[in-house]
């Protein structure tokens, strides 16, 4: 009897070594990163802004290269048509056809919302890697929409993170985030992103629908719907040139 007990224990210990241990939090984030990023990407999308009185849909096409460079041209409605936005590392320029001017956004303007959405330009500007800003740990596992997910808690390790902590729900099977909460230092929930409609694009899983919501304000937030996505297609260098804004 003693023997069996001993064997059982040894066996259990041995088994535990042999069991495939889950990935660490940073590995998960790394994997998400790998999945979600690509050398280049061209995205056609719609942004649906739910206002207090009405909703608006804004269509745009975005070109991105690497982590830092992004060029967006708005296609509709008429009011936004021809407006272009170029982000290169720490700079953000907006070109408006009505004024035919390129204006660099800085300071105060960056805190404004993008096209009246629940997203601020600043939110778009953050391009450091999550792992460079946050320490991550797995808080637990749960199910979201019938899928098994890890719940990751990210806490800033640098001083100048816009959001002091985040929570990220990552689907275990495809390494796609399904939900993200952004918190203030005090722990107050500020913004929430819910991702859905995950589709495969060129071997990578990518959510095609996202809802951003400023949790402090009333309203339904802003929907972001990808209508077409191409990844790793060549994009000419000129696209990411300031002179492209005025074209």
């Amino acid at each position: 009897m003693k023997k069996t007990a001993l064997f059982t224990i040894i066996g259990l210990i041995a088994m535990s070594f042999m069991l495939p241990t889950g990935p660490s939090a940073s590995q998960i984030i790394q994997k998400v990163d790998d999945n979600m990023s690509s050398d280049t990407r061209i995205t056609e999308s719609q942004m649906i802004i739910h206002g207090r009185r009405n909703s608006r849909t804004i269509t745009s096409i975005g070109y991105s290269r690497g982590k830092y460079d992004n060029f967006t041209e708005y296609l509709a409605p008429e009011r936004e048509k021809g407006t272009k936005m170029l982000k290169l590392k720490d700079y953000l320029w907006i070109y408006s056809p009505s004024s035919d001017r390129t204006i660099q956004l800085s300071g105060h303007m960056l805190r404004q919302s993008v096209m009246g959405s629940d997203l601020s330009y600043e939110d778009m500007m953050e391009d450091r890697k999550l792992l460079d800003i946050y320490n991550a740990e797995i808080e637990g596992e749960e199910e979201v929409d019938g899928k098994k997910v890890w719940r990751l808690a990210l806490t800033a390790k640098v001083d100048d993170a816009t959001y002091h902590s985040r929570k990220l729900w990552v689907e275990q099977e495809r390494f796609v985030p399904l939900k993200e909460d952004l918190f203030a230092k005090s722990g107050q929930l500020l913004k929430r992103t819910v991702m859905s409609d995950i589709k495969k694009v060129d071997g990578k899983w990518y959510p095609h629908k996202m809802n951003y919501k400023d949790m402090l304000k009333d309203g339904q937030g802003t929907d972001f719907v990808v209508t077409k996505m191409q990844i790793n297609v060549p994009i000419a260098d000129e696209v990411f040139n300031k002179s492209n804004l005025k074209k």
Partner: protein, 385 residues
Amino acid sequence: MRLAFKLAFRNLIGAGLRTWLNVIVLAFAFILIVFYHGLNSGWNEQAKRETVEWEVGQGQLRNNGYDPYDPFTIADGHGRIDNPQAQGLEPVLIRQGSIYPDGRMFSTFLRGMDPNQKVLKVPVHLLKDSKADFPVLIGKRMAESAHLKQGDEVLMRWRDKHGTYDATTITVAGIFDSNLPSIDAGQIWMDIHKLWEITGMPENEATFYISATAKENMDVEGWTYYNQASLVQYIDDLAEMDKIGAMIMYGLLLAIALLAIFDTQVLSIFRRQKEIGTYIALGLTRARVVAIFTVEGSMYSIFASVVGMVAGYPLFAYFAKTGIGMGETPANGIATLQRIYPVYGVGLIVSTTALVIISATIVSFLPSKKIARMNPVDALKGKLQ
């Protein structure tokens, strides 16, 4: 000269109603001038006092990056000096933030001040008594526009010195009633220690310091000192403008009163030619006769000053005591007083009396000059000239 006064007095009293009509009008002008000036200096004094008590203190040492009229400068226009308390400086730190009453964003300025401060009248000491986790103080205008009441809780969001968002629920611990919109509209007052803590700023970090003692100047690199006089200069300017405006008004009233005296003088000289002729025949010099008539004219103003003081005194005293309700008018950050207590200086009374007497004398003299040109014989005969 005594004779002139005696004669003038008798003549005026003798003329009865005509005299009193003139005197009443002139007395009105007198009362109005004194009253209006009193109101003006009352306003000036009070507006300055309120501004000093609620906003300016004895002077301010402002960070050079800060411009009170440009909210964009708040982000970077702050700094720190060593041991400001030793120099009698009370730090005030302004940061930007938002509150979310009714789920709508409301941009505000967070103003931190020491609850133990003695330099301003803003009742930040109330923050000490509050049991709330994060008590704040707002003014009545802010309370109205953000729909907040005492005891209400509302979510506030701000950024710390690194730009990281932070948010918490604040409690309205008190609502103050100030005449100054500039420290009320859009402002949330809190303990500066708390503000330093939540923004991660070091102790004594400030947008500006308020001086507890009057100083003419301070020389601190990166900061500019504004003495009290310069900070309330605009109130003097406003009062000055108002004074000029009022001057036009009572100038007109005085003109009417003087017109009456002038008319009376013309008539009395016209009707009393025989008397004038007699004076000259009796050996009085013409200058002397002119003087008699001039004195008679200016006697109105002496009567008027006396009547004005006697009749005006109860009025002046009443308003000085109870004040005059002005309502509440927002005027671009200028102190708006709900009640003005007129202030009457001795100088005001003396100068007004002098103004009335001198101007009355001048208008009395003008028609009297005619006497000098009169032919005494014709005058004596009462021949019209």
